[in-house]
Amino acid sequence: MPEQLAFTIEVFMNGLMAGVLYALVALGFVLIYKASGIFNYAQGVMALFAALTLVGIMEGQVPFSHLINAILGTEVHHFGWHVPAFLAIVLTMVVMIVLAYCVQRFVFRYLVGQEPIILFMATIGLAYFLEGVGDLMWGSEIKTLDVGLPQGINVWIDEFTFDATGYGFFIDNLDIVASIVAAILVIGLVMFAQYTKQGRAMRAVADDHQAALSVGVSLNFIWILVWSLAGFVALVAGIMWGAKSGVQFSLSLIALKALPVLMLGGFTSIPGAIVGGLIIGVGEKLFEFLIGAPFLGGATENWFAYMLALVFLVFRPQGLFGEKIIERV
């Protein structure tokens, strides 16, 4: 096999893996958008907040320690214990559910029936608020997140491809785990929406509020449920991104990469978020490798996704899987 082709395939594979992470963030957007029509700008920050909380709990950090020390003049920073990863993940999920409840109770309950742009502005506010709270609670230094996921080159794939093609592929174990987790998550979410009572109620609310009320569905409960689910997806995304590149505040910027993913996949489709993520991941890596680096001086990964989204907006504004926009006259 010629070297160039082998390289291309490797880049393609790595693109898929990167795409999975984009898809995870996009998934959180889709969940909330479908059920409540809110475009949740804070989804990326939620992933950051979840990762920060997870690290904080695992390390036994005292939340708001700077604040406490400044007011009381004490010097507490750590409880002095370490929480095992699994328990910490469960506790973090509890925090995300409490967050979901608060968001619904103190923000969106008062904004029911408002224009989408107002709801969107509220989520921008929420994003900055959450970023601030995350900073205040756990501090702003870059943290490493190690929940025991396998990391580094997958030796088996490396050897297998080397034997087969004479060139060993570099695929990160973490990316493989992320892909498997994402697949399970998506299947789980689809099963939940299709076959459970709450899933059915969720779809009902997504479709028509008045009708949902008339069949006995509490809108408030469903919205809290949906924000909790989005919190869960954010936690998973936060763990994966955090394990890959450390928990830092630039993590919230990955939310921006989810935007082109959504434009490609459609804002209302769970499979769309996945496929969109994969296309963007593969697209930007291949473009950089084949065209960007040799001819355009590189660094195309920063803008390729947005350009692709723009092209989609022109030719298929509802995305690949979005509901068709039909205006009846």
Partner: protein, 277 residues
């Protein structure tokens, strides 16, 4: 064909066509509903008895739909009491009212347009689904049995309303008349104590109206469902209902059997207008 008049005060009685009308299941006491300075409903009282078809009629803007919205919890009246199954009902959210066994349809149809007919009817079973979230994920057997039972009831309702042929069709593709029927099916699937129908025949042609009338009578006959319906068209109501409340400008101007109501001078005036001289 007119239903016979009401035998007053008796706790339950049998109609001429052999249906048993039970005691009062819902009672509205001195309901007043205001929107700002406008009184949509002024001090109205009436009752609904078990197993009857109770109609609320009146000209446009009489407050009929507001009344239905009060019963189903979409509006909360400023004054008055709602009594349901012998107890006063505290102010409730619409979904809580639905969980208490009061199902409804809407004048402008509120269906889940993106779902199939079957899925829409299945949402009607939501109030009857008992297993919680955890039970559904962990204890699969019980949840599955429940799903099968709910599915059977939904299919029965679909058969009953003769919409088998469109079971899998997305609702958005259906014509208006069929949508109305699907909405009735969804409400019926909840096996409601009281079924509220908001202008079930609005916008239908004569044939569709006849179909719908037949279904309403059959539902009442077959399942013994108590039905409260709003209609605008006098003729249809007279044939269908056991007792009729007549509203005009938010006031109650008549209450009784179709025969009584038809001969009530105030009702005639409201519908035909009064000669001013």
């Amino acid at each position: 064909m007119e239903r016979d008049s009401v035998k007053d005060q008796a706790d339950s009685y049998v109609t001429d066509d052999g249906r048993t009308i039970g005691p009062t299941v819902m009672e509205m006491k001195n309901i007043t509903l205001r929107f700002g300075g406008v009184e949509a409903i002024k001090d109205i009282s009436f009752d609904i008895r078990e197993g009857e078809i109770r109609a609320i009629i009146g000209p446009n803007g009489a407050g009929k739909s507001s009344m239905l919205n009060v019963i189903s919890g979409f509006y909360v009246p400023q004054e008055g009491e709602v009594w349901y199954k012998g107890a006063q009902r505290p102010p409730m959210k619409p979904y809580q009212v639905a969980q208490q066994g009061i199902a409804r349809t809407f004048q402008n149809i509120a269906l889940f347009e993106g779902m199939s007919v079957l899925d829409n009817v299945m949402t009607g079973r939501l109030t009857q689904m008992k297993s919680g979230l955890l039970a559904q994920s962990l204890w699969k057997g019980k949840a599955e049995r429940e799903e099968v039972e709910n599915r059977e009831i939904a299919e029965k309702v679909i058969d009953f309303l003769e919409i088998q042929a469109i079971r899998k069709t997305p609702v958005a593709r259906l014509p208006y008349g069929l949508k109305k029927r699907v909405e009735l099916a969804r409400a019926l699937a909840a096996e409601p104590t009281i079924l509220l129908l908001d202008e079930p025949m609005a916008g239908m042609n004569v044939e569709e109206k006849e179909d719908m009338s037949r279904f309403i009578l059959d539902v009442n006959d077959e399942f013994g469902t108590t039905i409260a319906l709003i209609e605008h068209d006098m003729g249809v109501v007279m044939d269908l209902s056991d007792r009729v409340v007549v509203m005009d400008y938010g006031r109650k101007i008549g209450d009784g059997s179709p025969h009584d109501v038809r001969n009530n001078q105030e009702v005639i005036d409201a519908y035909l207008g009064v000669a001013h001289d």
